[in-house]
Symmetry: C2
Subunit: 158 residues, 2 copies
DNA sequence: GTCTAAATACTCGGATACCCGCTGTCCGAGTGGTCCGGG
DNA sequence: CCCGGACCACTCGGACAGCGGGTATCCGAGTATTTAGAC
C-alpha cells in the first residue's frame, strides 16, 4: 500500500481539528509532518477528485474538508488514494494451459479462488468503512488531550 | 498484491486433487496453467520455505503437499508469498514536522491511525485464515464436478 | 477620499524524470535412474 | 544371470537482467490581494 494513504489520513485529521473553515495550503499541511509539499499536493488532488476535500486557488487559498469528518470513513480515504480495485487480481489462469484446455464443465461461474479472496477483501473493506475519521480523532484525543491545541498552533501560528 | 499468490493458490489446489503422493515437477505445474516455469519455481520455493510444500530433487522429483489441504488456510498462502507484514505501513509521520515538534503529550501509545488500519488488517487476515484450501476445493467440485478428473489427466497423462 | 485598474504574489493543477520492487530468465549443484562391463 | 560402478538426464535452488508503478520534482494557469494613479 502506498504511503500516500497515511499522509492523507493525518492530513484529513489535522484539517478536522481546525475549527474555522479557513483553507490551509498544501505547503503548511506538508510542513506539519515534514512531508514533500509537491507530492502531498498530488495526493490531495486525489482527495479533491473524490470529493473529500475542497480546493480554493489564489492567495489565502488551500484545502478544506468537503464533508464533516464523521461522514468520512477510512475506506473513503483508501479508495480515494489507491482506487477501488480489489487487492487480489484474478488473471483467470484456470482457463489457460493444459488444465484450461482439458476443462469440460461450465466455466460461467467466477473463479472459486477469486470468490474466496473477494470475501476476505470485503471483510477488510467493511472493517474500514465501519471506522470513521471522527472515531480515530476521538482516540487521538484520549491518547493526547492536547493534540487539538497543538495542531491549531502548528497551522494557525504559522 | 503480486500475482504469485494466485499461482500458488491454483498450484496447491491442483496438488491437493491428486491422490497419490507422487511429486510433480514445476514444469508440469506451470504447463497446467500456461505459466512461466522458472518464475513459478521461484514462488514454489517460498512455499517450501513456509513448509507448505515438500521438494524432492532429482529425476521423478518435484513438489508435494507437506500438509493436508484442510490444514492450509488462504492466509498461510498469502503470508508465504507476500510475507506477514501488515498492508498498511506506519512511518510515524505524526512525530515529524512542526506538529511532531510541538507535540507535548505522551507519545508512548502507538499511532491511532496505525491502530485503526491494523484492526481492518486483522479482519482481513481472520477472513483469510477462516477459509481453508479444502473449502475452496469443495466449491470447485460444486462448480465443475469433473475438475478433479481433468486435473489428474492433465498431470498424470503427461 | 474614493473608485478603478493594473501589477503582483501566492495558490492549485498537471506534465515531467527517477528509483525500487515485482516480473521474468538463466545457469549451477545435487540426485535418482540407467546403462555398461565384469564376475 | 547378478552385481557394481560410472555416466547421464532431470530436478530444484539461487544468482542475474528488464520493466512498470509509486515517488519525487518542477513549471504553468488562475485568482484574491495590494497598490498606484486618476477623478
Amino acid at each position: 500500500m502506498s504511503k500516500g494513504v497515511e499522509w492523507a489520513m493525518h492530513t484529513l485529521l489535522n484539517l478536522g481539528m481546525l475549527e474555522d473553515g479557513e483553507p490551509v495550503s498544501s505547503a503548511q499541511l506538508a510542513a506539519g509532518h515534514g512531508l514533500p509539499a509537491a507530492y502531498l499536493n498530488k495526493q490531495l488532488q486525489l482527495l479533491v477528485k473524490a470529493e473529500l476535500l475542497t480546493s480554493t486557488p489564489g492567495p489565502r487559498g488551500g484545502f478544506t474538508l468537503a464533508r464533516p469528518i464523521d461522514s468520512i470513513s477510512l475506506l473513503d480515504v483508501v479508495v480515494a488514494i489507491e482506487g477501488n480495485e480489489p487487492i487480489f487480481r484474478c488473471a483467470e489462469i484456470r482457463r489457460c494451459g493444459k488444465i484450461g484446455e482439458l476443462s469440460t464443465g461450465n466455466t460461467s461461474t467466477t473463479c472459486a479462488v477469486k470468490r474466496a479472496m473477494y470475501r476476505a477483501d470485503m471483510a477488510w473493506r467493511e472493517a474500514l468503512a465501519k471506522q470513521k475519521l471522527s472515531d480515530v480523532q476521538n482516540e487521538l484525543d484520549i491518547d493526547n488531550p492536547s493534540v487539538r491545541r497543538t495542531v491549531r498552533r502548528a497551522f494557525g501560528g504559522a
